[in-house]
């Protein structure tokens, strides 16, 4: 790179008029040269290539896609109805018919693990969609409007962040009662503060960047600037945070269900399955009963974190854009 790049070259103001004209002509030439360079890769292509070169991210994406397919087609994948009681076969060890054995009520563990993926993934996606909407409304308003509004919204965000979120979620779940909709809504309602801060921060950074100021100087409307310049650049960090958020929501649901406050019987949730298998008699009596849902949670969350890490690389997000 030459010591003086065209962008940093500022002609001293004391220069003669003719000199300034020459510099302008020179710049125009440089601009033309720049335009004739081979077309650069679009940001999306570049991001996709970076993502695909992240081995763990690709592995995570493959695992995740499989899980999504399994949860969509659970009815075809699972050999049995997950809620049907095979009363002649209670707490059976794994065999050729019940690959992971049966539980206390004679229900097929493998089928329940398969259907459990549906609960976990849908809670993760819906809860995070809810809090993304809240975070976007609060973060974007604070970042774009600024001033008093920003101050009030951010103090409110600080306030919600002060509560130990799991305790808050657990208490709300206890009050509202166990159901999948309640779990989604409760995790959604309390999950937004980190993401709202992130969105606000990104917008504040973008507002000060040269190209946004340039667009303003050229008379671009606020609407145009937001849609054309600010939003596309906020997408990277937000997508990383949202991905990590889905993993967090899945863990929160598992914890809630484990405590008996999340998804209630007979519906199959991984957390509920582990909770039912608890108690020392079961811990070593039928390990498949709780190891299989437990390992499923680990696999799902791990896959999502890998994808999140890949996205972080792909969008070149610096630092930790964690949503929590």
């Amino acid at each position: 790179m030459p010591p003086e790049t065209p962008r940093n070259h500022h002609p001293p103001p004391s220069e003669a008029e003719g000199g300034a004209a020459a510099v302008t002509a020179q710049r125009r030439l440089e601009a033309i040269e720049l335009l004739e360079l081979p077309p650069e890769l679009s940001p999306w292509t570049r991001a996709r290539r970076r993502f695909m070169s992240h081995k763990l991210a690709v592995l995570g994406l493959a695992i995740l896609l499989n899980m999504v397919l399994i949860s969509i087609f659970a009815d075809f994948v699972a050999p049995y109805d997950p809620t049907r009681n095979h009363l002649h076969k209670l707490l059976a060890p794994p065999d050729s018919l019940n690959w992971l054995g049966t539980d206390r009520s004679g229900r097929d563990t493998f089928s329940r693990v398969v259907f459990g993926s549906r609960v976990s993934l849908s809670v993760g996606v819906v809860a995070v969609s809810i809090y993304l909407a809240i975070a976007f409304a609060i973060g974007a308003t604070a970042g774009l409007v600024g001033g008093r509004v920003d101050n009030v919204l951010m103090r409110f965000t600080d306030l919600v962040m002060t509560f130990p979120s799991f305790i808050l979620i657990v208490i709300m779940a206890g009050i509202l009662g166990p159901s999948i909709i309640n779990v989604m809504v409760i995790i959604g309602i309390f999950g937004w503060p980190g993401l709202a801060r992130l969105i606000r921060g990104q917008i504040l950074v973008q507002r000060e960047l040269d190209y946004v100021i340039a667009s303003q100087a050229l008379g671009g409307s606020l609407r145009h600037i937001i849609r054309r310049h600010v939003l596309p650049n906020v997408v990277g960090p937000v997508s990383v945070a949202v991905t990590l958020g889905v993993a967090g929501a899945i863990l929160a649901e598992a914890g809630l269900s484990f405590l008996g406050l999340g998804i209630s019987e007979p519906a199959a949730s991984w957390g509920t399955m582990i909770s039912n298998a608890r108690g020392i008699a079961f811990i070593d009596a039928a390990p498949a009963l709780w190891l299989s849902p437990g390992l499923s949670i680990v696999l799902a969350v791990l896959a999502i974190y890998f994808v999140g890490d890949g996205l972080r690389d792909a969008f070149d997000v610096r630092g930790s854009g964690s949503g929590n």
């Binding site: 305790i167 598992a254 582990i274 070593d284 437990g294």
Partner: protein, 320 residues
């Protein structure tokens, strides 16, 4: 410095009010009457239904929400957060009774997690892009992906049931005199489960902070002066890299409190977490609210302390 601390405390006061408002709103969503719960149960027994009605009116229970909030807040400020539905004892007393157990558990977990995490984070940063760095990074992904309760149950199965090296649960061996060694043996599994995620968090933050500092210009200067590598790493890099970690100490408290709820329950440790779990099962709302209110206040205090500590080690912060 005094000015900075005063300013930070003043900012915390409205937050404290906010915490009490949100807690009050949640209490009001729960079945039952939070203000009736404030009355000493023994007084309630001796009163007739009509007396209670009269007292309700006297207490302002028929008044609108904001008025009831003020009444409730006045009681809360004098230390009355109500009486447990189950034990009929003042809930503040119940929580304070259990606090030492939880503080010990969380304190040891936090101290160990931060030391182990910082140590591996430093190794990771110094050996950036090596096999060690890569392995540590993958391990840290596993650490944040395993639900604490699943790790706890797995540890129980392997080390307590199969190998028999550690006690299955409890804090002390029943029927024996309390001994520190006995407590330590009982604490290994719960503390491991509790600190698992924090180790990963500290490791990743330390690594990032170390890498940032390693590329700082004053490190280049130190090297240019011909200082030994050990001196540069210890005095210039490590000490400065640690500074931003102070803030995570405050940030990791909410997760730690949530973790204590699950871990104390699984291992039957008689702490605030187990108390909260029992209160959840028995729908003992006054106890739940006390835990929530005190937990949030603790987080607020921890953040305040972290901010002050940050300003103390990094003068740039307090003049900002």
């Amino acid at each position: 410095m005094t000015q900075y601390i005063t300013r930070r405390i003043l900012i915390s006061i409205p937050l404290l009010f906010g915490i009490s408002i949100i807690t009050f709103i949640i209490i009001n969503m729960a079945p039952g009457d939070p203000l009736t719960a404030l009355l000493d149960p023994e007084d309630q027994i001796s009163l007739s239904v009509r007396d209670i009605e009269a007292m309700r009116r006297e207490l302002g229970l028929d008044r609108p929400g904001p008025v009831r909030y003020v009444i409730w807040l006045k009681e809360a400020l004098t230390g009355n957060l109500g009486f447990s539905y189950q034990t009929k004892r003042p809930v503040v007393e119940m929580v304070l009774d259990k606090l030492p157990v939880s503080l010990t558990l969380m304190g040891v977990a936090l101290a160990l997690a931060s030391s182990i995490g910082v140590m591996f984070g430093v190794i990771s940063a110094l050996k950036q892009y090596s096999v060690i760095d890569y392995s540590l990074s993958v391990i840290s992904f596993f650490m944040i992906s395993i639900p604490q309760f699943f790790f706890a149950l797995s540890g129980m199965l392997v080390f307590a049931v199969w190998l028999g090296w550690l006690p299955v649960f409890g804090m002390w061996t029943a029927g024996e005199d309390p001994e520190l060694l006995d407590l330590a043996r009982h604490a290994i599994l719960p503390i491991s489960a509790l600190m698992l995620q924090d180790i990963a968090v500290y490791m990743r933050y330390t690594r990032a902070s170390m890498l940032d500092t390693l590329s700082a210009e004053y490190v280049l200067t130190a090297r240019a002066k011909g200082l030994s590598e050990a001196l540069v790493l210890w005095k210039h890099v490590f000490r400065n890299a640690l500074v931003p970690l102070v803030t995570i100490l405050g940030l990791s408290l909410p997760a730690l409190i949530g973790g204590a709820l699950i871990i104390e329950t699984i291992f039957s440790w008689p702490g605030v977490g187990a108390l909260a779990y029992d209160a959840l099962r028995q729908r003992d709302y006054p106890v739940q609210m006390a835990v929530l209110l005190m937990g949030a206040t603790a987080v607020l205090a921890a953040n305040l302390l972290a901010d002050v500590a940050y300003a103390w080690v990094d003068p740039r912060v307090r003049h900002a």
